[in-house]
């Protein structure tokens, strides 16, 4: 008898509606979309030792909280316009209003406060499905 890949479901709080799937990229530090991520390449250029030089494009980006300027929405939206955006954001704390506004504009789902700690436990590259509808958010950790 064969068993399929294990799928672990973790409840979270829905922030921005949507569904997405992609390999995880975990940053242990707060992320500022204005300054930390290059718009044209999607590369992390800011002072984030745990994720420096990683590419956010196509990834489920997992990090503790957002920091920095109220201009963050424009940079998240520009990442989307250049096709270099993360497919979903997973944060511990509710992100800044500006980041939420950019994500809604770009159609990037956000969930926060997952019921289990992910940072330090989920490996980069692990496939993750993110679903958010209203207050309800769900993460599926594949494999």
């Amino acid at each position: 008898m064969t068993t399929g890949p294990t799928v672990r479901e973790i409840a979270a709080r829905g922030i921005v509606d949507g569904r997405a799937e992609g390999p995880a990229l975990v940053a242990r530090e707060p992320v500022s979309f204005l300054g930390d991520v290059d718009i044209r390449s999607g590369r992390i250029v800011g002072d984030l030792p745990s994720a420096r030089n990683a590419i956010v494009a196509g990834r489920v980006l997992i990090f503790p909280y957002t920091s920095g300027s109220a201009g963050a929405w424009r940079f998240l939206y520009q990442l989307y316009k250049h096709g270099k955006h993360p497919v979903a954001l997973v944060t511990e704390a509710v992100p800044d209003p500006s980041v939420v506004q950019g994500a809604i504009l770009a159609g990037i789902p956000i969930v926060c406060a997952p019921a289990e700690r992910l940072i330090g436990r989920v490996e980069n590259g692990t496939m993750i499905q993110v679903e958010a509808a209203g207050e309800r958010g769900l993460l599926r950790i594949m494999g």
Binding site: V16, S67, W73, Y77, V100, Q101, I104
Partner: protein
């Protein structure tokens, strides 16, 4: 979220596609922050549509095309080109043409095309308890802290709020968040806007996204100094509101600023802290700078008077490019008052609608390649504002020399950098 019948009708599309899109976004934003309901707003400061970012002007045109109209008085934030006379900044005409398309879209939507980060100097002056929204964090902090209006640090959704005339009730719209979190004891009262911008920058770095309360200033700061103070705080930290008892409505005392709760231990701030901010942003060589700039945030009429008085009858050094940036509204008033003639006769360029960090000098933008934008090589910019200094470093990615307004003007005339201390001794 509980919506009124009118708000539900907007969400259902009964009031047109633009209002539906706006309300759908605002409802999601409100849900994310646990807002129980919407509140009617009285003013909005909205996104310009920026020509240096891919498809960004198109975003504003799209709204205008969907029939969006401003439900409340709305001013428009700073833009990426001087749309009236872009040649003086060296910008290509392609950029100015694209930026002008945004102006046309705003004209159709009924937003006042101020293209400025200081709409209050252009007459947009919300009052105590006015719920509002702003895309520019300097506007948010000035309106909250000096005028007593209620605003969060918003992004693009300021335009959605302006279209719907509503904003979800959370953050600085609620009394419970308009209370002090940090107490600063100002030991040495600063003098002039540059000192106040450095004071704000220092405080913002400590207060983060808290609400700093300031005690100990020997006098009531001028409106320009209050503007500079807030701009500094909003730059180094995420401060949306500071409380200066006796100035910030409705707080008459330090005790009121903390809503009667025990005061936290105070943090002393002195001349040394202000000087450290000047030093931090003095990275360039004293005899090698490309531009001297004043007018961040965009100059008020009073500041234009000050520049004219300092420049009257004098000449900018032939090797120096000197920029004064202001809004088109203040520029017009200055022109009518004869100040522009005095400033320009000295050899200064008066630029409106944009500024060094907002124009094509910035290296962190992402324009359509077809526009042919090439940021010019710039080694050092002399500035009189901690806000401009921080963003010159981050966006133009070159050295800065930070001094006072007087120091900047004396630098422009002598051709050699005059720091804050040297300027004070003159």
């Amino acid at each position: 979220m509980i919506l009124t019948a009118a708000e539900q009708a907007m969400l259902d599309g009964d009031a047109g596609i633009a209002k539906q899109r706006a309300m759908a976004g605002l409802v999601q934003l409100g849900r994310a922050f646990g807002a129980e309901r919407m509140v009617e707003i009285g003013y909005a400061h909205i996104h310009a549509g920026m020509a240096l970012y891919l498809d960004d002007v198109e975003l504003i045109e799209e709204l205008a095309g969907e029939g969006a109209r401003m439900a409340v008085p709305a001013s428009v934030n700073i833009a990426n080109a001087d749309t009236v006379d872009w040649r003086r900044t060296g910008a290509p005409e392609s950029l100015a043409r694209l930026q002008r398309r945004a102006a046309d879209a705003h004209d159709r939507m009924g937003s006042a095309c101020t293209f400025t980060c200081t709409p209050y100097w252009a007459g947009h002056w919300p009052t105590w308890n006015t719920h509002m929204t702003s895309i520019e964090s300097t506007v948010t902090i000035f309106c909250n802290s000096v005028l007593g209006a209620r605003s969060n640090r918003d992004g693009f959704f300021a335009v959605y709020a302006a279209i719907a005339g509503r904003y979800p009730l959370f953050g600085y719209h609620l009394d419970e968040n308009r209370r002090g979190t940090h107490l600063f004891e100002i030991v040495d009262t600063p003098e002039g806007t540059s000192d106040f911008s450095c004071l704000g920058f220092h405080i913002g770095g400590i207060a983060g996204d808290g609400v700093p309360v300031l005690r100990g200033l020997a006098r009531r700061p001028s409106l320009d100094e209050l503007d500079a103070l807030g701009a500094g705080m909003a730059t180094s930290g995420g401060v949306a509101l500071f409380i200066l008892p006796g100035v910030t409505p409705p707080f008459a005392s330090v005790e009121a600023a903390f809503a009667g709760r025990p005061l936290p231990e105070s943090i002393a701030v002195g001349r040394g802290d202000i000087d450290a901010v000047y030093r931090r942003f003095c990275t360039g060589a004293a005899d090698r700078f490309d531009i001297v700039h004043v007018g961040c945030p965009h100059a008020s009429f009073e500041e234009m008077r000050d520049y004219a008085a300092r420049l009257a009858g004098r000449r900018i050094h032939p090797d120096v490019e000197f920029w004064v940036t202001t809004s088109r509204a203040v520029r017009h008033m200055a022109e009518q008052a004869g100040l522009l003639r005095t400033i320009e006769a000295a050899g200064a360029k008066v630029i409106s609608d944009t500024c060094p960090i907002s124009c094509h000098f910035a290296r962190t933008t992402s324009p359509d390649p077809a526009l042919g934008i090439v940021p010019p090589p710039i080694r050092t910019v002399v500035v009189d504002s901690a806000k401009q200094a921080k963003y010159v470093r981050d966006m133009i990615q070159c050295d800065t020399l930070l001094t006072t307004t007087e120091g900047a003007i004396e630098t422009a005339i002598s051709g050699r950098f005059v720091d804050a201390h040297a300027a004070a001794r003159r």
